[in-house]
Every structure is written in C-alpha cells, then in structure tokens.
Amino acid sequence: MKINLNNREEILDTNKDIITITELFELKKFTFKNLVVKINGQLIKRDEYASATFKAGDKVDVIHMISGG
C-alpha cells in the first residue's frame, strides 16, 4: 500500500486495502509514547488508533513528541 507518511512517500508491506493506525504501528515497529496522529489532516486520538483506518493514497502523519524545552 502506497501512502504519504510524514510528508514522504511510503510503501507499506501489507495486502490489505484498508488498515488501522494500530496496524501501521505494528508494520513500522513504532513503539513511541506521546504521538500526535493525523489522517488526511484529521486528528486521531489514542483511543481511536485501533478503529481509525486509512487506504492507499491517504496522507498520514505520525509525529513523535519528545521532552525538552
């Protein structure tokens, strides 16, 4: 599946037509805490990760917040 992940083209290793944010994290081995996630500009909160889905061509942003300031 080809998507736009964090402003870059990304090919995900899956045969599914639609996947969830939780599945994306598994595919990409993302284990970070404190993420801000958006699908096509729409904020996805933590309790929606397992249900929010996207498809090929969508724009997905996964932004890792880290301490320091």
């Binding site: 964090n6 402003n7 805490k33 404190n34 993420l35 801000v36 958006k38 500009g41 904020l43 909160k45 942003d61 932004i63 890792h64 917040m65 880290i66 301490s67 320091g68 300031g69």
Partner: protein
C-alpha cells in the same frame, strides 16, 4: 519590507506562548524585540537556579513566578508590547480560552505529554490555528540537524530526536537556537515569506 512596515503589521498581532521556560522565555523576548503587539504568556512554575542555564531570567529573580517575571523582563526591553501573564498549569479548556484570540500559538512546554496535549487540543478545538512546537533541542553541537517541518498548521522546530535527560541536558546554545527559530516561524506566518 522596512522595519517600520514590519512593525505596523506586527503591532496588531497577538501570540500565545504556552510555557515560559527555555523555549517560551527566549521566543517571547525575540518577538517583543521586533515589536509584536500583544503576548499572552502562561506558566505555573517558579524560577530556579537550574533554569538560568537557558531561560531569560536573572539571578535576582530566583523564586519568582516565571510568567510575571518574564513580563517584567519584556517590559524592560520593549515597553510598547502588551503582555498578559498567567500563572496557571494549562489544561485543554484553559488553552482554548486564553489563546482564542491569538494569531499564532507557541508550544513551549518541556514535557512530551504536555506537548502532545496542547497540539491535540489546538488541532481538535481550534482548527486551522497555527501552532509552532519545539521538538528535540537537548545537548550541544549538531547545528545541522535542527530544522523546521510543516504539517498543515502544525510547525515543528528542532532535531526531532534528542530528548532531554540527565546525560543530555537542555543548554542555552541549542535551546535558544530552536526558540529563536520558532519565533522566526511565527514571523513568517504573520508577515509571509521574506523576499
């Protein structure tokens, strides 16, 4: 644009600054110097000696609340700036209320969960409002890793990877570089691109 023209535009603009630590204090001072009209600054904390390695405070201010102390320092630099200071631990409802009339919001917290909280609040409840966030500025050196990324109305400034901890402290050179780059992004949002 001449500096006079720039000041004409900036004097009717309001910037909200969430946190008056390393990022917030230095970004606020930079924006005050160029003549921003109004700053709304918020922090719950008091100044400690350990803050002076990067934050825009003075030795004789140790023990004072950060938000009013920063207002005092800004007034010494540019008394024309209107500064509204709030000593408060910001929660989502406060962010929406305090910053509702701001043209741009600057995220200047230290903890990752607070950064996440304000970004999610602004994206969900203040749709379209630009927010500039500092992500990754601990340690020293590695100038070339510091960058600006844009995701719609969310701007991220920093190296995106260096987390503050005991062995990688936050220090003036890199924190001030990032905070001033954040102020620079604010100017770009308010003035448009520089020719």
């Amino acid at each position: 644009m001449t500096f006079e023209q720039i000041k004409e535009i900036l004097k009717i603009k309001t910037v909200g600054i969430a946190g008056c630590g390393g990022l917030g204090s230095n970004a606020a001072v930079s924006l005050a110097r160029v003549g921003i009209g109004r700053l709304i600054i918020a922090d719950f904390d008091k100044i400690e000696i350990s803050n002076l390695n990067r934050q825009y405070f003075f030795y004789n201010q140790i023990g004072e609340f950060k938000a009013p102390a920063l207002k005092e320092n800004i007034k010494l630099i540019n008394p024309l700036v209107e500064v509204e200071s709030h000593t408060i631990k910001l929660e989502p409802k406060d962010i929406v209320k305090l910053f509702r009339n701001c043209d741009v919001i600057v995220e200047a917290f230290d903890k990752a969960e607070m950064k996440q909280m304000i970004v999610e609040t602004v994206l969900a409840e203040m749709a379209g409002r630009p927010i500039v966030c500092g992500i990754g500025m601990a340690g020293w050196g590695k100038n070339d890793l510091i960058k600006t990324q844009c995701y719609d109305n969310l701007y991220l400034v920093g190296d995106g990877i260096t987390e503050a901890n005991e062995h990688t402290p936050v220090l003036a050179p890199r924190v001030c570089a990032v905070s001033n780059m954040m102020a620079n992004v604010v100017l770009e949002i308010l003035l448009g691109e520089c020719n």
